[in-house]
Every structure is written in C-alpha cells, then in structure tokens.
Amino acid sequence: MTAPPLQAKDYKSELKPIWCPGCGDFGVLQGLYRALASIGRPPHEVAFISGIGCSSRIPGYTTAYGFNTVHGRSLPIAQGVKLSNPELLVVVAGGDGDGFSIGGGHVPHAVRRNMDLTYLVMDNQVYGLTKGQLSPTSPKGLETVTSPLGSLEDPINPLLYMLAYGCGFVAQATPADMPGMAALIEDAIRYPGFSFVNIQSPCVTFGEEDQQLKAHKTKLKPLESLGHDPTDQLAAMDLARAYGTELYTGVFYKNPKPPPTYEALVKLRQAEQAKKARPRDRVLDAYLQK
C-alpha cells in the first residue's frame, strides 16, 4: 500500500509562530508548506537551517528537521549538513540582515561551491527582532531608530549580488502573489544546485507603508509578462538593477545547463579515493620510517 501523497499540513508543526499578525512571513511559510507538499519529500528527509531574526524562526514551524543557528551563519552550517548527507533536501532561510549584513561574507562562497541548497531570504528592509533598525537593504534616506536623521548609505542589491556571484538560480517573489511565490520556491528547490529566492516579505510593525502586501499587489510586475528570458544572464542583471524601485517577480536567471554540484564531485572523489584507503587501524603506517 502506498502512503497517501503528502499535503501542506503534513509539514506544519504544532508550534505557533510568534510573528506579528499581518507579517509577510506567514504567507511565506504557507507557500513553503505547499512547495514541499508538491515536491513530496517526507519531512524527515528535509532539513531547514536558519540564522537569527524573525524569519529565521521558520524551521521550528515545520515538521522537518530544523536548526535555528546563530546570527548570519546558516549558510556554512547548511553546507556541513549537505556535504554530510547529500540525500537530504536542505533549505536555508533567513532575513536580509542575517544574510547580507552579518552573514554577507558567507554568501559568495556558498554560491561558488554550488551545493544543491535553496536559500530563501525574507527581505523586509528592516531589523524587526531588535525593533526597527536600519538593515542592509533599507533604502537610502530611511529614517529608523538608528538612522533618525535618515540613512546615509545605499542599500545592497541582493539580486544583482547573487547574479554577479554566479548563482545558477535567482528569483524574486512576494507573498502578495501566493501561487507565484509557492511555484518559485518549488522551482528553486528543484533546481539542481545553489538557488536563491529573494522574498519581499513585509514587516507589518516596522516596515514602510509602501512596502506592505497591499502595495505589493498593485506594483508587482511578473518578469514573465515582460517577456524576460530567464536563461539570459545579462538581461537578468539589467533587470535586477531595478531592485528597490521596481518589484519584479519570477525567475531572473536559471542556468539552462546546471554544472555538477559540489556534493556530486565529492562523491566521485570519495569513490575514486576509497581504493587507496588503508584499514583505519593502520592509518599511522603513513608515517612509518622506511
């Protein structure tokens, strides 16, 4: 007898999210459940790795294995998990501060190693958990408690960064378009390599009015409707430059010929090297004086 197909609710844990009512992350979580159900891997074969921040609470709200780690370090930790058990479906989740500020140094390296990980950033342009400070994606001039006179810095552009780092799958979504977002998450997970989805997930408490889902609904522009070819990396970069002014959703870039993943190369190396292994209790023979 085959088990009935998994449903979104099979991935939902009993833990109640602590997010503020109206938070964009609720929608992201729902979209995630659905994407997982559609993919159909049982929860115990899925590992969610996150850092610190409102959105990094996500692993606890799923029935999968979760690791809610420390601020900014989810990517290296996830790589250790994936390399140790490549069969797992590993999803990394976190906020814009976690990923592009404190953890920013890890991102290019995670991308260039190209493990089959999916990185979901819930980008809300503000630090929510610590009460409304400037974040790396906050627009220039934004007044926050740490920039009461307006920020003097330009925000980073996560989409352009990821494309420049050579990421094989770069997309943007918003929970204002639930079906589109769920489909993108699913598509990202199915991409055989490192995939990135920047999810514009508004902060209902500290976010700007024009960043809320209601505003998203009116301003989002699906890349598909613009006739964008997602295999055109340069066109993707050109479009990505509009981050912060335009809300494009959909796939910016998807490598039509994904290269082998890091873990696949590791597997090959392990198989090739296994022949040369001494018995483990003879490892010291390597140092035997001839």
Binding site: F67, V70, S84, V266, Q270, E272, Y287, Q289
Partner: protein, 619 residues
C-alpha cells in the same frame, strides 16, 4: 578506550648522562660517550638548515635512535633566519632539551636572532663558518662562553667538493657525522631521497660534500671528542611525524567524516593532511571562507550525524566562540583542535605558549562547562585526539584539544602505536523502534543528562536544534524553570568525566612531600626534571593532567594530600591552570605557580633547582 598510554616505564626514561671511557687508541683524548645528543643549527633560510635537520632526524631514526626536531623561523615568508634543534637519543626523548651539545652557526647574525631557543653552555661545541670571523662580543654579553669553539671553512669546502654552494648543509652533516659518530649510512640514504630526483648532478655533489665533511672532521679531531652511543636493538620501524600529523591520524582512526577549517599557523597541517586522506574514508574537507564558517560547517556535519572536527589557533579560536556556544546548547558532538601560539591577537604565531586554557574553558557567554584535553607530546596527541572524539560523542558536547606549537610542529621518531588498545565511542542514537513507540524528545531530562540524539534522515526523529533555550522536545522557551533544568542537564552529564583517572598521569611516591605538576608540552620538561630530582635523591612525585576541564577535584586533592612544596609549571604569563585550580578546588599554600611567557621554554635542571629552593619556604 580506557588504557593510559601516558604511563612511561621509568626504566626507559631518559636521564642525560655523560660517561668518560677510554676508547680508540688513535684518539689522543678520551672520548665522551653520549646516549643523548642535542644539536642546533642556524643560518639564513636559503641555507636549508631546517631541511638538514630533517635529514639528520631521518638518518638517526632509521638507525633506531629516538629523535626529535623543533624548528624556528624569522617572520619573513622566505629567506629570513631559520634554525632547528635536533635531539638524538638511545632512549625515549621527553622534550627538545636544554642547552645544546653542539651548535652550528652558518653566520653570527642569524644565530643571535634565536635567543632562548638555542642556549649554549660551557660544554657546547660551537662550530661556525670561518668566513664569519671569530665570535663577536654579543656572545660574551650572553654570559656563556663555550670551552670549545671551532671555525670551519664550510663555504670553501662546499665549493671545492660540490662545485657550487648548494651543498653547504651536506658538509655540515658530514662534520657532525665525523665528529659525533652519527652513522653516515642513514644520512646518505636521506640525500638519495632528497636529491635523487632534483636534477642532474645534485645528488653526486651532495654526496661529495658529505664525504668532505666527514674527512675534514677526521683530520681535525675535537679537543674534547664525543661519540653518540649506538641505540639498543631497534624494536622495529619508528613513526616519524609531528603532533599535527598525529592529530590528523587520530581523527581518521576515530572515524572523522567531516573537517571544516581555515588555514592558520600552526594548525594548518591537520587540514592539509585530512584534505588528502579523508576522502578515502568517505569523508570530506571543506576549506572555508573564514574561521566561523569552519566551525559552522563542522557543527552542521555533526547535526547531520557525522563525526566532525575543526582546527585552529588563538585568533581563530576567538572567532569560533559563538558557534562553540551553539554546539554546547544544541548538544552536538564536535572536536576543536587549538594549537596554541603566543597571544593575545596575532602575538607570536610561530612560538608555543600555554595561554589559551582559560579561553578554552570559559570563552563565550552563558554558563558553559566545556571539556578540554591536552596532549603532552607527539605520540599522545594520537591518543588524546581519539579520546576527544570519544568524549564528544559520548557526552554530546564540543571538546577542545589544547595542543601547542611545539608539540604540533616538532618532528619526532616515536615507537609504533598499538591501536588495538583503543575503543571508539559512538553517539547514542534512538532506534527507529524507539522513535515509533513514543514522541521523540531530543533533550529528554534523563538521569545521566545524556539524551539520545537523532539526525536528519531518521524517520520519527525530527526535532528543532537551536541556539535558543529549549524544552525537552526542542521547542524554544524563555522560561526560567526549564532554562535551569537544561543548564543542570548540560553540567550533570559531564560529571563522570571527572572520575577518569586514566586522563591523568602520576609518577613517584604517592606520599612524597615534593611535587611537580605540568601539562601540555611543558609536561615533557617536567618528566625529565622529575627523574633528575629523584636521581638526586629527592622524594618527589609528578602529576600530568590530560583532562584540564572540568577540573577533577578529587584527583588534585589526592595529589595535594602529602604535598608540602610543589610547582605547577606553565608557559604563560598568568599560570592559567594554577588559576583554574584555585577556582575549583583548595590549592595548598606550598604549591607555587612557576610560569612565564611563551617562547621561553623551561629547562629540566631549572625546574629541579626551583623545586628544591621551595623547601625553605612555609608550606
């Protein structure tokens, strides 16, 4: 693994002795037979004195000698001053030794850059390059003038024999062989290996240079001739490696499946070795973008159910601190090697110091009890590494191996290790049947404090690991009651460690009024000092802890019971073990801290003198 390899049969322990016996009639003076010879060499990096030291080490160990080599460099990447010390002996070598028996200076400037590392005594035979001229006044200023100083036209001999100056150190090796009876066959084999493939004629040139050196020595006998005794019948081939090699081998033996790290002196060799070897055993090495990612990926691997480790030194340890805390609260097994160097900050990257103990025990915020194990020499680095994995797996905790630059990078010829006496511990994983029976509670408050740990892929075992405090199931909590219970669990589970007598080495009369305590690389000096003091008729005992944290109060109290006077010897400004002991247990007044900053190694004789001096003081 419960066997104590730290036990050293005292009969085999080395006491330096000089025996005067009349030998060969050709020799005018009587030859001093040595069963222990300490050589030093210094020169410009381009001279290759370190590589000559390695040749000597190879040669001697292949002849059955016990041998040990340490090296020291200037801060230049290449071509700065470099030096090495080689200690050859017919018995087990306990430490790099004190004053040199022989010193070869290829030029004075480079020699003088190494102070305490190349100490001379009146009995040192000082050999120097003739062209460098007579010893400058700097030598006098150091207060010790060797009785015998020999100038040799090394450059000239090299040019004449080899036709270039690329074989200088082969002449030196010839001189040492000729003057001190170091068998030349091994040296020749070494040359073969080193130069055999390095270009036409180079091997022949070096062979000629070696022969010239030997010949020169024979033609110019020393005023006080020495000869190294032949080693006892060899117990088979020896292992020639350094502490970092031993750590990598220990990790492989223990079943390490993942290493995440970042290059840092003086620990990098562990990553280098594993980068070559680990694949063979189904594992992986990830050279990360930084130290944090190094420990992060290792924690991830442990979460995924694999034995994993990282290695670093002081500055890297600082960066890893936050994730160490994560591994503690998420109760994930992890081994962290810290090869100590002088600190703080960049400090002395190439010199040993024992100043990271307090960091190892206490770094990071919150209430943490973190096991810290310290090897004392190259050989026991293997055992301590295996032990670290066992402790990590059994108690689901990060464990720090506190090595230091000297142990890690000194090359040593040691006897083979019988690995069958070690057993390996695996973490307690719930079975699928157990998981099916009732809901899984990852952090169940068991009596022992140890709760079975599941890992991704295991059906029925899903849970949330987190840096945030959790309840038994793993769900986040900020309640004080549960936090207290979990803290108590994390401390309680480590209690059995304190009863591990095999993680301590004790020698001498248990009732002795005099005692020495030392850990890490200083223990080797203390072992020799202990034997020396005993030989001088003092009633003395020795304690060498391998387990530094948690503090095993009972072991120390047992040792302190009869103690009137004692020294706790450490290579740090503060004397960090002394301070740690005073924090956890009553330390008798008679136990003094003998400590000083790194790169100023202790000498066995010095320890004995300081210990005897104590007797006049109140206890």
């Amino acid at each position: 693994m419960r066997a104590c390899s730290g036990h050293l049969p005292e009969t085999k322990l080395l006491v330096r002795r000089l025996i005067c016996v009349p030998v060969h009639p050709l020799h005018r003076a009587s030859v001093r037979m040595l069963d222990d010879l300490i050589l030093g060499m210094a020169g410009a990096g381009g001279d290759g004195v370190v590589s000559a030291g390695e040749s000597l080490l190879n040669a001697a160990s292949s002849e059955g000698y016990h041998a040990l080599m340490t090296k020291s460099f200037g801060s230049q990447i290449r071509g700065g001053e470099s030096s090495c010390r080689v200690r050859l002996s017919t018995k087990k070598v306990l430490n790099p030794g004190g004053a040199l028996d022989v010193m070869v200076a290829l030029n004075w400037e480079d020699f003088f850059k190494f102070g305490a590392e190349l100490p001379l005594s009146v009995n040192t035979v000082l050999i120097y390059e003739e062209k460098a001229g007579p010893p400058p006044d700097t030598l006098k200023a150091r207060g010790v003038i060797p009785k015998e100083m020999v100038s040799v036209p090394i450059n000239e001999l090299t040019k004449k024999s080899a036709g270039s100056d690329k074989a200088k150190t082969s002449v030196v090796l010839g001189l040492l062989s000729g003057w001190f009876g170091i068998p030349s066959a091994g040296i020749e084999r070494g040359l073969q290996k080193k130069f055999g493939s390095k270009g036409e004629g180079l091997l022949e040139a070096n062979q000629k240079a070696l022969a010239t050196g030997i010949e020169y020595a024979k033609g110019h006998p020393l005023a006080a001739p020495h000869e190294l005794a032949r080693p006892e019948a060899s117990a088979g081939s020896k292992l020639l490696c350094d502490g970092n090699d031993m750590c990598a081998a220990g990790a492989l033996f223990a079943g390490v499946k993942f290493f995440g790290g970042y290059p840092i002196t003086p620990s990098t060799e562990v990553m280098q070795t594993l980068s070559k070897e680990i694949w063979k055993y189904g594992g992986a090495v990830l050279q990360c973008e930084d130290e944090i990612a190094g420990i992060g990926s290792a924690v991830g691997a442990s979460f995924a159910g694999r034995k994993s480790m990282t290695a670093t030194s002081g500055p890297g340890m600082d960066l890893k601190t936050e994730i160490l805390g994560l591994a503690t609260i998420a109760e994930l097994p992890l081994v962290i090697l810290n090869v100590q160097r002088g600190g703080p900050s960049t400090g002395l990257p190439t010199k040993a110091e024992q100043s990271d103990l307090l960091q190892a025990a206490f770094s990071g915020h919150g209430d943490v009890l973190r096991p810290v194990l310290a090897p004392t020499d190259v050989e026991d680095t293997f055992r301590i590494t295996v032990e670290a994995f066992n402790v990590a797996e059994e108690f689901q905790t990060p464990v720090i191996i506190l090595s230091d630059q000297e142990i890690a990078q000194r090359k040593e010829a040691v006897d083979q290790i019988d690995t069958s006496r070690f057993s390996l511990v695996e973490r307690k994983v719930p079975t699928e049947a157990e998981l099916a029976e009732k809901p899984y509670a990852r952090f169940a408050l068991t009596e022992s404090g140890i709760s079975p740990i599941s890992h991704p892929g295991l059906k029925g075992g899903t849970y949330l690991a987190a840096g945030i405090e959790h309840n038994e199931k793993g769900d986040p909590t900020s309640g004080g009651v549960m936090h207290a219970k979990m803290n108590d669990k994390r401390f309680r589970k480590l209690e059995p460690l304190k009863k591990r007598a095999d993680l301590f080495e004790q020698h001498g009369n248990p009732q002795a009024p005099l005692g020495l305590i030392a850990w890490g690389s200083t223990a080797g000096v203390a072992r020799e000092a202990f034997l020396l003091a005993k030989k001088q008729g003092h009633d003395v005992k020795l304690l060498v802890p391998y387990l530094l944290n948690p503090v095993a109060e009972a072991v120390y109290q047992g040792f302190f019971e009869s103690l009137k006077h004692g020294l706790l010897v450490e290579l740090s400004h503060q004397g960090q073990l002394y301070r740690l002991l005073r924090m956890y247990t009553d330390v008798p007044k008679g136990l003094r801290s003998l400590c000083r900053s790194g790169a100023n190694p202790f000498q066995p004789t010095e320890l004995v003198t300081r210990l005897i001096e104590l007797r006049g003081l109140p206890s």
